[in-house]
Amino acid sequence: MTKTAERRPVPKAAVHPVPAPPPVGGRRRRRLADQARAYAFLLGGLLCFALFSWYPAIRAVVIAFQKYTPGSSPEWVGTANFTRVLHDPEFSAAWRNTLTFTALALLIGFAIPFLLALVLNELRHAKAFFRVVVYLPVMIPPVVSALLWKWFYDPGTGLANETLRFWHLPTSNWSNGTDTALVSLVIVVTWANLGGTVLIYLAALQSIPGELYEAAELDGANLLQRVRHVTVPQTRFVILMLMLLQVIATMQVFTEPFVITGGGPENATVTVLYLIYKYAFLYNDFGGACALSVMLLVLLGAFSAGYLRLTRSEGDA
């Protein structure tokens, strides 16, 4: 679509009454003026991207190899930042937590929205109501939903344990227990974000041509077989894309552990991004923070590249 600057739409415009073509020397000047005008439109956006996207990406890599304190000139320290970060006992905890969190979020936060969308798509009544209700938590600020669930998880008077007590079930420590804290956070994140995923699935489900289901039914396929052989292959692309986006998003989780658990108990919910934040704003160690950022960047970049390549080549076969 974007043709290079060489092709001007002169032949097409010639159908209409056109002012006399400018002399050759003037044409070059006009082209230059066109370019200047185009870049005048681009300038603001371009500057913002340069300052707040491209430059920080380069800077992360540079500072990762420096001792950096705001206000004084940086020193090159080689890979010292990386070794220091690697030897931090919180480092392995943060990566373990983040990877577990992502895996759990995929497990819980992936199957549920798909099943919900599948069921919602079959319902012929109150369609608008379901869509609004499922998306409502997405519009509640994440900080509010985090604080809300922190209150629900209160071991004494929180709604979660009160409900368990009501049914005479054993209570739990939820976000306050070392082995339940991470799962508790996954529940919050899933609750807060599932609406968007459900709506996207619903859109994908609605684009499946009905004849496919009819044909499958004529061939004697039962309900589960229709899901497996029609629904899943037809929505495969959306499923794969959402999976990738979800992994990238959950690998960068911050608000929920920061607000609900503060990384605790005993570092059970410190995530990589939380650790980056701590390095920068608690330890004032920007070199270490950038070294961690680079690691996260490289890991996620490699993951997305590999994932896209794998899913694409599989699609060709």
Binding site: T2, A38, L51, Y55, I63, V134, Y135, M139, V143, L223
Partner: protein
């Protein structure tokens, strides 16, 4: 109108099919009410209970006495008007900056054929692949000391407004929309003597209302919901948006007052959603299938 889905209309028409349908329907209604509406109900009514009642076991489903005191206390004690105003300023500015700069840039990339336009577009789209949150620390350092002019934007709404412009997703949405606008219309405007700015203003923008609406909502919601970035760039408590202020103040405040503040902080976006729900839901659905 309704197309054939997983379950055939014939099955649904049978008595047994109808019974199963209504059972599932009721189950989903109950599930949705419990999972999504009840927590919200619990929050709104929790703030109306007295401090004694909210700590009671077992809890009361409906407040014994309805108090609005927590709401007024939150409004006064937590300086909510100021933090709400800060958030409004930040969100409105980010929205305006995005509309002006992203629209202009998308228009240039789509219709004005700048030299190296493809490279620029590639560079912009590449930022979609980079995990944004992973770069907050170098971005913070840049905002704290802008290159060349050595100014700090900390505690300034500009620290929200300008980085908001670097939103590749919104820019791409706009560009894709502009790409689909018929070329002849723009050429006609040009032949009638309209300059680039005039064409953008009186031809392109009026035709782009749907996409501008979607971009506007995305822009507003993003600022209102953000937490980590404003937490970093507003060390001054008085400049903080509501999300950051809530967390900072949550430690030493009465539970009912905190919950009331949480409700107040949620109202603007929930109201926006309820008013524009059709457009928002359509936007999400359309953006996903065409993207």
């Amino acid at each position: 109108m309704s197309t054939r889905t997983l379950v055939s209309p014939a099955t649904l028409a049978r008595p047994r099919g109808r019974a199963v349908y209504w059972t599932v329907f009721t189950a989903v209604v109950v599930l949705f009410a419990l999972a999504f509406l009840f927590p919200v109900y619990w929050m709104v009514t929790g703030a109306m209970k007295s401090p004694d009642e909210i700590a009671r076991t077992p809890p009361t489903l409906v407040p014994r006495h309805w108090h609005l005191g927590a709401y007024t206390d939150a409004w006064d004690l937590m300086q909510l008007p100021q933090h709400l105003w800060n958030t409004v300023v930040q969100a409105a500015g980010a929205w305006a900056c995005q509309l002006v700069f992203c629209t202009a840039a998308a228009y240039a990339l789509s219709k004005l054929r700048p030299a190296f336009g493809r490279v620029v577009l590639g560079g912009i789209l590449a930022t979609l692949m980079v995990p944004a949150q992973a770069l907050v620390v170098p971005k913070y350092l840049t905002v704290a000391d802008l290159p060349l002019i050595h100014t700090s934007l900390l505690d300034d709404p500009l620290a929200i407004w300008l980085p908001a412009v670097a939103n590749a997703f919104n820019l791409y949405l706009l560009k894709r929309f502009f790409d689909q606008l018929p070329r002849d219309v723009l050429e006609a405007a040009e032949i009638d003597g309209a300059g680039r700015l005039r064409t953008l203003w009186s031809v392109v923008l009026p035709m782009s209302r749907p996409v501008l609406g979607v971009v506007s909502i995305f822009a507003l919601v993003a600022v209102w919901q953000d937490f980590l970035w404003p937490l970093m760039v507003f060390p001054d408590t008085g400049k903080q948006p509501i999300s950051v202020a809530l967390v900072q103040l949550s430690q030493n405040i009465q539970l009912t007052v905190l919950i009331a503040a949480m409700v107040i902080a949620s109202i603007p976006m929930v109201a926006l959603f309820l008013v524009f729900q059709r457009h928002i839901i359509a936007g999400i659905s359309a953006g996903s299938t065409k993207g």
